[in-house]
C-alpha cells in the first residue's frame, strides 16, 4: 500500500465549503438580478439554517454519542439574544449579535452540561430535556425577552456597504456560515479532539484508557454544539424578522433529532441534506404538510431498529469488510511480526529502580472482598506475571492500578508518586497503558485512528490551534500518523490501516491493541489476558511479540494470563492472587510448584 502521510484535513474536505461559498455567490447574484424570488430565497435560507442546526446536533450525537433534547432552546436563545442586541446596539448589531449568540449558547451549554457530563449519557438527555422545558415555560415566557404573543421584531442589518436587507443576501450570508461551520466540523474530526469523541461514543472506559479526559471532551463537544446552535438562532432571527417563542418548543428539538438520525448519524453531508429536504419538501409539496411529522419519526424508528449505529455506520462497515477481503486475496497471511525494529528511542534502563508499587489495596463490592490487602511491585523494564484462579481479583487489581476502580484502602505509587486518586486518563499520560480482557479498541474507527488515539496525550496542541491548524498541529499530527503506520507495519497490518477495527479477526484486533498499548511510549503496560480469543497459532507468537515489545520499547510488563506457558516464557517473576489476596510471589517456575498455589488452582490435594 502506498504510504499515506498527508493529514486528512489538507486534502478533500476543503472542497465542500468551496462549493457552498460558490452557491452563496450564485444566490447573491440571482437575488440581485431578481431571478430568485424573495419568498423562495427565504425558504432556502430556512433550509440552510436548519442545516447548521443539524450540524450542531450531529457533532454531539453523531460523533460523541450524547443526546441533546434542547437544540431548539439553543436556537431560541440565539434568536432572542439577537433580538435584544439589534434593538440596543445600533450599527454594531450584526457582529455583536452573532458573537453573543455563540458565546451565550456555549455558556448555557456549560451550565446545563457540567453536572450531567460526569455521569452516563442518559443524564445529559434528562438535563437538556429539563432545560428545554424550563426555557419553554419560563425564560421564553418573560415579556421582556420574547415579547410573548406579539414576538420580537428584528430589523435586518448591514455590514459596511453590504445591506443584508433582501432575502437573497441573507441566504448568501447564511451559506457562508454553513461553509465555516462545515469546515470547523471537518477539522475537528481530523484532529485529536474529534478522535476522542469517537472513542467516547464507543466506550468511555476505553477512551480514558487511551488518555482521553472523557468529561472534559464531552463538555467541549456540548459547548460547540450549543455555540453553533446559538449561531443558527441568530441567523434565523434575521430571516424571520418577527421571532415568536413557539418556534423553539421541545417538539422542534425532537424533530431535529429525527432529522439527524434519518440523515445519518455522523454524516456531515447526510444531515445537511436531510435538514434541507425536511424544510423544503413540505413547502414545495403542500400535500406533505402534517405527514412529515408522521413519516420522519417512522423513518427514524426503522433506521435505528435495523441499524442501531445509523445508516452511514452500517454502509461503512460493509465497505470495509469488502475491502478487507479484497486486500487479503492479494496478500499472503499476515499473522506474524516482521522483523523490523521500531521504537528504540529510550535507552534500556541500566539501573533497575522501582516503577510501580501497590500497597495494601482492598476493594469491596457490597459485602464481597474482591481484593484483600494486596501488595505488589514492578521495577523498571521488568516483566511480572499476575496469575490466579478465576475470580481471584486480578482484573479488579488492574482496574485499581489503571484508575477505573477506587480502592477502599491502600495506595498506588508510580515512579514514586502517589497516584491512588489520579483519574484514569492522567495515568495514561504518566506512562501506564493497558489492554482489556475484551478487546479495548474503538471498533468503529480505523486502525490508524486507534493508534493515533492511543497517542492522545502526547499530541499536546490546544483546541484552537487544532481547529485552525496553526502552531505545531500539522507537525504533531503527521508525526503521530507516521508512528501509527510504523507500528501497524510492525504488526503486519499496515495494509488495513484505513479500515475499521471491527472488520478484523479477534486475533488481529489483539495485535492492534498491543500496538496501541505501546504507541504512547509507556513505562508500564498492563496486559489483561492478551491470549484470550487468539487462535492457537497466533497465541504461539505472542510470547515472542511480548518479549520484543519489552525490549524495543523498554517498558515494563504486568501480565494477567491463564496460559501458564506464556507467563513462563515472558515473565521473570510472578504474583499469585487467590480470593483477593497475594498468596505467593517469586520466580515463575518456582512459584507454580508451591503447594498453596497448586491448591488454589486445583483445589485441596486428596
Amino acid at each position: 500500500m502506498k504510504r499515506e502521510t498527508t493529514p486528512k484535513w489538507s486534502r478533500g474536505p476543503i472542497e465542500a465549503p468551496i462549493w457552498v461559498a460558490a452557491l452563496a455567490v450564485m444566490f447573491f447574484i440571482l437575488g440581485a438580478t431578481g431571478a430568485l424570488s424573495s419568498a423562495q430565497a427565504a425558504i432556502i435560507d430556512y433550509a440552510v439554517i436548519a442545516g447548521i442546526l443539524a450540524l450542531s446536533l450531529n457533532l454531539l450525537m453523531g460523533y460523541a454519542g450524547q443526546i441533546s433534547l434542547a437544540q431548539a432552546s439553543f436556537l431560541g436563545l440565539g434568536s432572542f439574544v439577537t433580538g435584544f442586541v439589534v434593538s440596543h446596539a445600533g450599527s454594531f448589531g450584526l457582529p455583536l449579535s452573532l458573537l453573543l449568540s455563540v458565546v451565550i449558547g456555549a455558556i448555557i451549554a456549560m451550565v446545563v452540561g457540567l453536572p450531567a457530563m460526569r455521569l452516563r449519557g442518559v443524564y445529559l438527555a434528562i438535563a437538556t430535556f429539563a432545560f428545554a422545558d424550563a426555557f419553554d415555560n419560563y425564560i421564553f415566557n418573560i415579556q421582556k425577552i420574547s415579547g410573548l404573543g406579539s414576538g420580537v421584531t428584528v430589523t435586518r442589518p448591514h455590514i459596511g456597504p453590504f445591506h443584508l436587507k433582501t432575502d437573497a443576501t441573507l441566504l448568501a450570508f447564511s451559506l457562508l456560515w454553513l461553509a465555516i461551520v462545515w469546515l470547523l466540523d471537518t477539522r475537528l474530526m481530523s484532529i485529536r479532539y474529534g478522535r476522542a469523541l469517537l472513542a467516547i461514543r464507543e466506550d468511555e472506559q476505553i477512551a480514558s484508557s487511551f488518555g482521553v479526559p472523557v468529561t472534559q471532551e464531552k463538555m467541549r463537544a456540548f459547548l460547540m454544539c450549543g455555540a453553533i446552535a446559538g449561531l443558527a438562532g441568530s441567523l434565523y432571527a434575521y430571516q424571520v424578522q418577527v421571532i415568536v417563542k413557539s418556534s423553539y418548543a421541545l417538539q422542534i428539538s425532537l424533530f431535529y433529532l429525527i432529522v439527524v438520525v434519518v440523515g445519518g448519524l455522523g454524516s456531515r453531508p447526510g444531515v445537511v441534506v436531510s435538514a434541507a429536504l425536511f424544510t423544503l419538501l413540505p413547502y414545495w409539496f403542500t400535500f406533505l404538510k402534517g405527514w412529515d411529522f408522521v413519516i420522519a419519526p417512522a423513518l427514524l424508528i426503522i433506521t435505528l431498529v435495523r441499524n442501531p449505529g445509523g445508516l452511514p455506520d452500517h454502509l461503512q462497515r460493509l465497505r470495509d469488510a469488502r475491502e478487507l477481503k479484497r486486500r487479503r486475496e492479494t496478500k499472503e497471511d499476515i499473522a506474524g511480526l516482521r522483523p523490523k525494529v521500531v521504537g528504540t528511542e529510550r535507552p534500556a534502563a541500566t539501573v533497575t529502580e522501582e516503577l510501580l508499587r501497590v500497597e495494601g489495596i482492598s476493594v469491596t463490592f457490597g459485602g464481597l472482598r474482591a481484593v484483600n490487602d494486596a501488595s505488589l511491585e514492578v521495577t523498571t523494564g521488568a516483566a511480572v506475571g499476575l496469575i490466579g484462579p478465576n475470580g481471584a481479583g486480578k482484573s479488579t487489581l488492574f482496574n485499581v492500578i489503571s484508575g477505573f476502580e477506587k480502592p477502599r484502602s491502600g495506595r498506588v505509587f508510580f515512579e514514586g508518586r502517589d497516584i491512588t486518586l489520579a483519574p484514569a486518563h492522567e495515568r495514561s499520560a504518566l506512562g501506564i497503558s493497558r489492554t482489556f480482557q475484551h478487546v479495548g479498541l474503538v471498533r468503529r474507527a480505523t486502525l490508524v485512528d486507534n493508534l493515533m488515539l492511543a497517542q492522545h496525550s502526547r499530541l499536546d496542541y490546544g483546541a484552537i490551534a487544532g481547529l485552525t491548524a496553526l502552531g505545531d498541529t500539522r507537525r504533531l499530527e503527521a508525526e503521530s500518523r507516521t508512528n501509527a503506520l510504523d507500528l501497524l507495519d510492525e504488526i503486519g497490518l499496515a495494509d488495513f490501516a484505513d479500515l475499521r477495527v471491527e472488520v478484523l479477526s479477534t486475533g488481529q484486533q489483539r495485535l492492534v491493541e498491543l500496538a496501541c498499548a505501546v504507541a504512547s511510549r509507556p513505562r508500564l503496560v498492563l496486559l489483561d489476558e492478551p491470549s484470550a480469543g487468539m487462535s492457537p497459532a497466533a497465541a504461539e507468537h505472542l510470547a515472542e511479540q511480548l518479549a520484543r515489545l519489552r525490549t524495543n520499547f523498554s517498558t515494563a510488563l504486568l501480565l494477567i494470563e491463564h496460559h501458564i506457558p506464556l507467563v513462563t516464557a515472558v515473565c521473570d517473576t510472578t504474583y499469585v492472587l487467590d480470593a483477593g489476596a497475594v498468596i505467593a510471589s517469586g520466580p515463575v517456575r518456582k512459584v507454580i510448584k508451591q503447594p498453596e498455589v497448586v491448591t488454589a488452582y486445583v483445589g485441596e490435594a486428596v
Binding site: M61, P115, V122, A130, Y138, F293, P297, L300, I301
Partner: protein, 297 residues
Amino acid sequence: MLHAPIQTVIILGLAKAAIYALMALGITLTYRAARVINFAQGEIGTTAAFVAWWLISRHGQAWAVGAVAALAVAGAIGYAMHRFIALPMRDAPRTSLMITTLGVAFLLFGIELKVFGPSPETLPTPFGGSTWGIHFGSFVLTPIYIAAMLVAGAIAGGLALLLTRTRFGLGILATAQDPSSARLLGIPANAVSAFTWIAAALLGAIAGLLVAPTQGVFFAFQMSGLIFFRGLVAALIGGLDSLPGAVVGAVVVGEIDSFAGFIFNRSAGVPELVLLAIILVVMVVRPTGILGVEVAT
C-alpha cells in the same frame, strides 16, 4: 407569600404527586429492565386522552368505555414497543434505543395532529357535574384528585406486591440486576420485557386520563412536557432505579409544583425553572438518588 392556607397547598401537592408517581414508576420500571428512559411514555398519555375524548365527547360513549379503549390502545403501543423495538434492539447501544423511544413519542405526536387535529380539547371528568369533594376551608379537593390518589396508591401497592412476593416479579428484579444470569436461571426474558413496556405504557395512559380532566384543555404533546417531565424528575430524585425512591421523588416534585404555583401564581413556568435547578443539583450531589446506594457513574 402563599395565597392559600398551607395545608391546602400540601394536600394539592400530594394529589399532583399521585399522578407524577404513576409516570415515575413507569420510567423506573423501564430503566431497571432496559437501562433506558422511555421518552414515549408521556405521549402515550396524550394519545390515551385523545382516544378517550374521541369516544366520550365525540361519540357520546360512557366514560368507562372511553377509558377502557384508551388503555387498550396504550397497551397495544406498549406491546409494539416491546416486540418491534426493544426486542430487536436488545443488544444495541442504549443511546440508540433511547433515541428510538423519542422517535415513538414524536410519531404519536404526529399521528395525534393528523387524526385529532391541533386544537385543544376537553376531556370531562368521570364524575360528571358533581360538586362533591373534600373541603379544606375554601379549597375543595375534587373527586378526580381523590381518584388519582387512590389509583396511584393501589398501583404502587400492587407493583410492590408483584415485585417482591411473586416469582415473576422477582424474575423482573433479577433481570434488571443481571440479564444474562437471569436468562440462564430460566427467567423468561421476553415476558419480562413485554411486561415492562406494556406496564409503562399503561401507567402513562392512566396518568394521562387522570390529569387531562384537571387541566381544562389538553392538546397534542402536552403530556410529554407536563407530566412526563415531572415524572422524570421524580424518578431521577429516586435514583432512576428505585421504585420507592420514585414515589418519594414524586411527592417532592408534587409539593414543589404546588408551592411554586401558590407562591408565584402570576408567572407560569416557575416550577419548571425550580425543577431544572433541582435536576442539576441532584446530578452533582446525589446521582444515586435519595434512597439509592449504588454508584451511578
